[in-house]
């Protein structure tokens, strides 16, 4: 419990130290990353008071079951992303360290304003990372929109402070539940502010400019690590803070719109990066729907599944489209990478024997409790999702024009690094492992395995533990 603050402080310390040394900044990055991963083993749940002050007064770092998984996932994904894309780090090692600290802070902090600060740290490091793909207009658009978004969030927090006098998350939620003041406006601003970064549909105008030419590192960072952190934060907000019914309906409608339109535009897009980009928008819409309808356990698995799958797919997509855009020959020459990519896309669709299937079953069980339309919608969207991902996979594996059966395989020039192959295969294996033995994931969260009884008890102590 004492180590949770080191997860944030250490990367910052290394970031500041990296100003001293000219060359070899990457080693600091690797060091910080490794220590963070090692700390994960000794991490245990509890709230950490910064500065020694009790809950409502000082800032607290909270690790309950919900954020325990979040921290675990975020750090592991960061570790794998750096391993597999170390070639593209270039001058960004310091920024990556601050990004690591910001993302850990986002997930752990128990204070609303502190969340705003960490949101800023993460987004500014993201701005600087995206400048590496030379699409400055996209970055500029990203800066303006997410600056407006976070300011709206701050506006919401201040209004809540004016009403309840505290900035601490848990005391705020208790205060809100006791009093019956109309909290619609602040919650609207908070929801609007956060959904800009969580890529919900009307708010995510910036996504295409940033992602469509992002290289492997930036793509994985934004699509897998920051997205996972933001979805966890969004989940916490939607479940606990936002209690105003109008905003909850708004969140549900926006979630549905994002899911449907995200998947449809993915179905429509041609280049592989656009497909991944819209698919991650769709997934964040799905997570919002699940969170707002109180299904925390399925939402967590969807986030994990999306995080891992996006990491694999972005790395491989970038590696494969180095030379020409359509990487036809890549899979046939590097079958291992092809298998990892296919496993990731199958898990994203939710085909059996993969983690995605376990997530889909759980969410269906939950959604069926509410009404028949939502599961139907989810399944229709899965058809569209299955369609464009299978089309992508078939196009990547099999060469030859439409009418002819080819047998020869043309040489592909890319040579993926060994660490990339190992990282993607390990992640793909983890997807399969959870698919085969879901109890592995199940018992680390209080929910029992799916099959022996109806999934009643989600991870209930989200409210309490905060």
């Amino acid at each position: 419990m004492k180590y949770s603050v080191i997860l944030i402080a250490l990367p910052l310390l290394l970031a500041f130290l990296s100003m001293f040394i000219k060359k070899g900044k990457e080693n600091l990055l690797y060091l910080g990353m490794l220590i963070n991963v090692m700390l994960l083993f000794v991490l245990e749940q509890g709230t950490y008071l910064i500065g020694g002050f009790e809950r409502p007064f000082g800032i607290t770092l909270v690790i309950d079951q919900y954020s325990y998984i979040a921290v675990l996932l975020v750090n592991l994904l960061f570790f794998f992303s750096i391993i597999s894309n170390y070639k593209q780090i270039g001058k960004h090692s310091t920024v990556l360290l601050t990004l690591l600290a910001g993302v850990n802070g986002l997930v752990m902090t128990g204070d609303l304003f502190n969340l705003f600060v960490f949101l800023e740290i993460t987004t500014i490091s993201a701005y600087i990372l995206t400048t590496s793909n030379k699409n400055y207009v996209g970055t500029f658009n990203y800066i303006i929109v997410s600056a407006v978004g976070s300011s709206l969030y701050l506006l919401g927090v201040i209004m809540l402070y004016a009403g309840y006098g505290t900035l601490d998350f848990r005391t705020m939620t208790e205060a809100i539940s006791e009093s019956n003041m109309s909290v619609m406006l602040p919650m609207l601003f908070i929801f609007a502010g956060l959904s800009v970064e969580a890529k919900l549909l009307p708010f995510n105008g910036w996504v295409k400019g940033v992602f469509s030419k992002a290289n492997g590192l930036v793509g994985t960072m934004l699509a897998s690590i920051i997205a996972t952190a933001m979805l966890f934060v969004m989940g916490r907000m939607l479940n606990v803070l936002i209690t105003d019914s109008l905003i909850m309906d708004l969140a549900l409608t926006i979630g549905i719109i994002t899911l449907v339109l995200g998947e449809l535009s993915a179905y429509n897009s041609k280049s592989i990066k656009d497909v991944l980009l819209y698919s991650s928008i769709g997934q964040s819409g799905l997570v919002t729907i699940l969170m707002i309808s109180g299904l925390i356990f399925p939402a967590i698995i969807v986030i994990i599944n999306n995080g891992i799958a996006k990491l694999i797919m972005f790395t491989i997509a970038d590696e494969a489209t180095k030379e020409k855009d359509d990487f036809k020959g890549f899979f046939s020459n590097h079958q291992l990478m092809g298998i990892a990519f296919t496993v990731a896309s199958f898990s994203l669709i939710g085909l059996p024997l993969f983690m995605g299937f376990y997530a889909k079953l759980n969410s269906l069980i939950g959604l069926f409790e509410m009404n028949l339309l939502l599961p139907a919608l989810l399944l229709l969207v899965t058809i569209v999702e299955g369609a464009y991902l299978i089309r992508l996979n078939i196009k990547l594996w099999y060469l030859g024009e439409e009418g002819t059966a080819t047998t020869e395989i043309e040489k592909a020039s890319q040579k993926p690094s060994l660490s990339m192959i190992v990282a993607t295969l390990v992640l793909a294996a983890s997807l399969i492992a959870v698919g085969l033995m879901p109890e592995v994931l199940g018992d680390s969260i209080t929910d029992k395995s799916l099959l022996n009884e109806k999934q009643i008890e989600y991870m209930t102590d989200l409210k309490g533990g905060m």
Binding site: K2, V5, A9, L12, L13, A15, F16, L17, S18, M19, F20, Y48, L49, I50, G51, G52, F53, E54, P56, F57, G58, I59, K91, H92, T94, V95, T98, A101, G102, G105, D111, F113, N114, V117, F118, E120, I121, I124, S125, Y127, I128, T131, M159, L160, Y161, A162, G163, G165, T166, L167, D168, M181, S182, V183, M184, L185, P186
Partner: protein, 247 residues
């Protein structure tokens, strides 16, 4: 046409938000905020750890934070984690700007500055520096603090570079100063953790309120923040003066 639409949209939004802000029972009306029912009441009375004593300027000893200026108490004491985050934000933006500028040392050509500016800046410069340092060191006693003082130092540097153009390229040490003060800030936090048990915890001998050497580690923290902010802002300004390396 776009303008009219935007205007219409914003007018409705204005009308809506104002009606909601004015007549909703959440926000107290303008000017009637009661400090008592908010957490900042303990920040003022500095009784977060429990024992409540009435604070008299110059007498009460060893308060929790012990800083006369309540805002500095919050910024560098109760919520110093925010300030740490705050400093990193500034650090990253400075870093980002220098990354984007690239490692070029060709500076923009600018015409020779006017006589009045050259002479005037020589006169104003010392005042600026002294006041800036004063504000940084007296952060816990008088209004102001690390950020404000740092900004003043940076403006001094800007004035200097405006007056004579060779000044800015001569400063190399800023990056080092920036990194150093950031590291020390975190080390203070870690020391607090080892000594007092919690990250960024203030030592408990915070001296008598109102004196120069009071409020424990707060002035030290603010000093380094001041240096860091000063160096970062100057760094950013110098980067903006550089000419773009033709990438």
């Amino acid at each position: 046409m776009k303008k009219v639409l935007a205007l219409l949209l914003l007018a409705t939004l204005a009308f809506m938000t104002i009606t909601l802000v004015v007549d909703n029972n959440l926000l107290p009306d303008f000017g009637e905020t009661k400090v008592e029912n908010s957490v900042s009441d303990t920040y003022i009375k500095q009784n977060a750890m429990g024992e409540n004593q009435d604070i008299k300027f110059g007498e009460t000893k060893n308060l929790e934070i012990g800083s006369a200026n309540a805002i500095t108490g919050i910024v560098a004491g109760y919520r110093s984690f925010d300030t740490l985050g705050e400093v990193t934000v500034l650090f990253i933006s400075a870093l980002g700007v220098s990354l984007m500028i690239g490692t070029t040392d060709s500076w923009m050509k600018r015409s020779q500055s006017g006589f009045i500016l050259r002479v005037g800046s020589k006169a104003i410069l010392p005042i600026l520096m002294i006041v800036g340092v004063y504000i940084i060191t007296h952060g816990h006693l008088s209004p102001g603090g690390g950020f404000q003082g740092g900004a003043m130092i940076a403006s001094a540097m800007l004035l200097l570079s405006l007056s004579d153009h060779e000044f800015m390229p001569k400063i190399k040490a800023f990056k080092m100063l920036e990194g150093l003060s950031g590291t020390i800030y975190i080390l203070i936090g870690l020391v607090g953790m080892i000594l007092m048990g919690h990250f960024l915890q203030n030592i408990d001998q915070t001296g008598t309120i109102g004196e120069l050497f009071s409020a424990g580690l707060i002035p030290v923290v603010y000093l380094f923040i001041g240096l860091k902010v000063g160096s970062e802002l100057t760094g950013i300004i110098s980067d903006f003066m550089k000419k773009e390396a033709n990438i």
